[in-house]
Amino acid sequence: MKFIINDEVLLGVEKPSRYVGGEWNSVKKDIEKVKIRYAFCFPDVYEVGMSHLGMKILYHLLNSREDTYCERVFVPWVDMEAKMREQNIPLFALETQSQVKDFDFLGFTLQYEMCYTNIINALDLARIPLLSNERTKDHPFVCAGGPCAYNAEPLADFIDFFVLGEGEEVIQEILDVFLIWKEEDGTRDQFLSRIAQIEGVYVPAFYDVEYNQDGTVNKVVPKDEAFPKKIRKRIINDLDNTFFPDKIVVPFSDIVHDRIMLELFRGCTRGCRFCQAGFIYRPVRERTPQKLVELAKKLEENTGYEEISLTSLSTSDYTGLKELTDDLINEMEPRKVNLSLPSLRVDSFSLDLMQKAQKVRKGGLTFAPEAGTQRLRDVINKGVTEEDLIISVSTAFNGGWSGVKLYFMIGLPTETNEDVEGIADLGDKVVATYKAVPKENRGKGLSVTISTSSFVPKPFTPFQWAPQDTMQMLREKQKLLKVKIKNKSISYNWHDSELSFLEAIFARGDRRLGKVLVKAWQKGCKFDGWGEHFNYKVWMEAFEECDVDPHFYANRERTIDEVFPWDHIDIGVTKNHLIKEYQKAVRGELTSNCRTSCTGCGAGVFEGGVCVE
């Protein structure tokens, strides 16, 4: 089909350059000369999707194969979508402006639950049947990966196969099977049966879910013995010798993270009990400083970017941080490249580093104590004490900083009003710390910002059994905190609890939510993560019309022996370990960092990283 996105369409929409491609380092290939066409879709707008490191890695990895052409697809913003629907323009890929339906694969990355309606919308715009079982050989295989794929049961009806864990190797194995299958001219089912036997590939249609009378899951069983009972995630053990792009696409317009991202390591050794990333990405595996500096130099030369950011789940925990930052500053300062250092634990070393690396104004520093009292911080295994925080802010104030942001969660398991009030107390102590710093040392105009988000229990964490506070409870806690914060230097803002409620439903959802997704989408829901488009009322109507109780998913406390919709997925960390962690949490007991001592979580089966060091 020939179509052209004409000037009249593009001149009538916001930021048209995000729909035309052609950016520096974007890949051009002759579609007649490749055997596999892969459409990689980030189910949000260009600016968000282009900021995602995983997409950059897989885009360049797939294009490093001569037989494959990977193109990028983003969801059009609402103004563009309206024009596309009006003018009959299907969802298209940026590189060749071909329609997505013509590709062999359409791969989604699932970074947050609130993108699910965008996936339904993208399939519809692409004119691909929404339901997996309605697709024919004329349609691409629709697959998905990313953190939400670990429990993507709500998407089971729409996705042909999920890829669990890190994709660098498994995607290649899938494509190799595809080449053979294409040659043999097999059926769709034949292809899916074959890849279902690759470790890390989950074909939901090959598994039956049985439910109990009370609505909980009884069991999930493969339809055929050939398929694994448990699907284990994939990881890459040797990060230094695995593919990392030495050039990345440089967008024409501003994107959310418009800089080089250097991935220091995967996983996290800390074991904060609320944090899903901390469990699903285990074990910790690092790149060496030498490799990172080498990559940084190539990336800088090939992109012309003026900023490099170090990324990981907890940059301060990188064992080679000093060596790496010293070398990077030496290499990059003459080239006028800034180093940005997100999520650093604030101590004298990191403050010194920030002063050296970034010409930042001494504005805001961010701290995440997560909870207001030591008791609750121990429950979540945060491993930070009030003293740590006060020493950190004191160091920062003495170094001339005058603005701090403090992040907390409300609604954590076992939380009481005392814990909520503790947040306000902590704020006051930060103000007192500032006042104790000599005037000549500290910056002018103290500003303390306290932000609270609402806790969302996630699968594969020790809190996967815990109920989410009802919205009523969350709002009362927000109100309580608002009253308790009296100091004029402290401002308080909080996240909307309606969105957190919806997140909690889908995070621990099952296949029965698929019809709610379609219903909500039919009623106009999309871009739910964008405040201006999120429509809570319509969502609740969709639940009601589908006769599904959202509270069953969000606010119900699970018994320890409950079978979860995601129990057939194996992340390495065992359910037993998570049960122990949950019980320790309730008792307020801490668990040590992986580097201090091994807790036998189960991630050792991968025989990599910190587990074998």
Partner: protein, 279 residues
């Protein structure tokens, strides 16, 4: 950071093609900044907290407009050969942007401050099929008026301006075959268009059936020489809306392409890359 002083400067002429016409002016500068970084050319940086490369661009182009005649000035920390500069930068620019000429610049006056006139070739379509003679005479009669008053939006609000003194030349060109028995479909009917950029656009776009809301047969071309720059600036879209206010042609702007920019020096209108302009 080391302080740097500009020791030499260049003026370049470049093309902005179809591929990059949706980039905003600000983003275009970013594209050049990063291309220069990739090419490792010794550009000078401004001093201060947030150093910026020393480059000045001529007249910003609206989103959607192409040009074969954009200009920019660059300053360097050492002497640099114009040819080497063009070659290295072209290797590092995305498709659609090409340096076509460059030359050493002695004058301290930058390109942005001195632009006064711009040439455009634009494609417009009438809502209904019209006799060429009629279109021409309507436009001629508008051009014969002593003044053409139109409301222009500026930062200070709306004000009425006379745009007639801003129009130096206006030439219409039509397809010869139009209205005759010749089959419009057999050849695309745009042989009268000589500019290769416009021909390229036509071949890529106007041939696609059902491409746009206007009828391709009603398209004709206008060549313009009009005021441009900081003192007095007329954009083709404003001119077309003026024509629509003063006539019932209901013109629709199909495509705008800039073909030239000129500077003023000592009361003379010059090519920005001429020796007189650069000295």
């Amino acid at each position: 950071m080391r302080e740097e002083y500009a020791l030499s400067s260049l003026r370049v002429k470049f093309i902005r093609g179809e591929e990059v016409k949706y980039i905003s002016h600000l983003d275009m500068m970013k594209v050049f900044e990063r291309a220069i970084r990739r090419s490792k050319l010794p550009i000078a940086y401004s001093q201060g907290f947030n150093p910026h490369p020393a480059m000045v661009f001529g007249l910003p182009l609206s989103v959607g407009v192409t040009s074969e005649s954009e200009y920019a000035d660059f300053e360097f920390t050492c002497d640099i050969d114009p040819q080497e500069f063009s070659q290295k930068l072209n290797q590092n620019l995305p498709e659609g942007i090409r340096i076509s000429l460059s030359n050493k610049k002695q004058t301290k006056v930058n390109i942005m401050a001195s632009i006064v006139v711009a040439d455009y070739e634009i494609l417009v379509a009438t809502a209904e099929k019209q006799e060429h003679g009629h279109i021409k005479s309507v436009l001629d009669s508008i051009m014969e008026k002593p003044e053409i008053l139109i409301e222009k939006e500026s930062k200070r609000g709306r004000k009425e301006v006379d745009i007639r003194p801003m129009i130096f030349e206006l030439k219409t060109k039509f397809s010869k075959e139009l209205g005759s028995d010749n089959n419009f479909e057999s050849e695309n009917g745009f042989q009268y268009i000589e500019n290769p950029f416009l021909t390229n656009y036509i071949n890529k776009h106007l041939d696609v059936p059902g491409f746009s809301s206007y009828n391709v047969e009603n398209v004709f071309s206008i060549s313009l020489k009009i005021s441009a720059g900081s003192k007095s600036n007329l954009k083709p879209d404003l001119l077309i809306s003026a024509f629509n206010l003063l006539s019932d042609l209901q013109l629709k702007l199909v495509k705008v392409h800039r073909t030239g920019l000129y500077i003023e020096k000592e009361m003379r209108i010059l090519d920005p890359l001429s020796n007189e302009a650069l000295s």
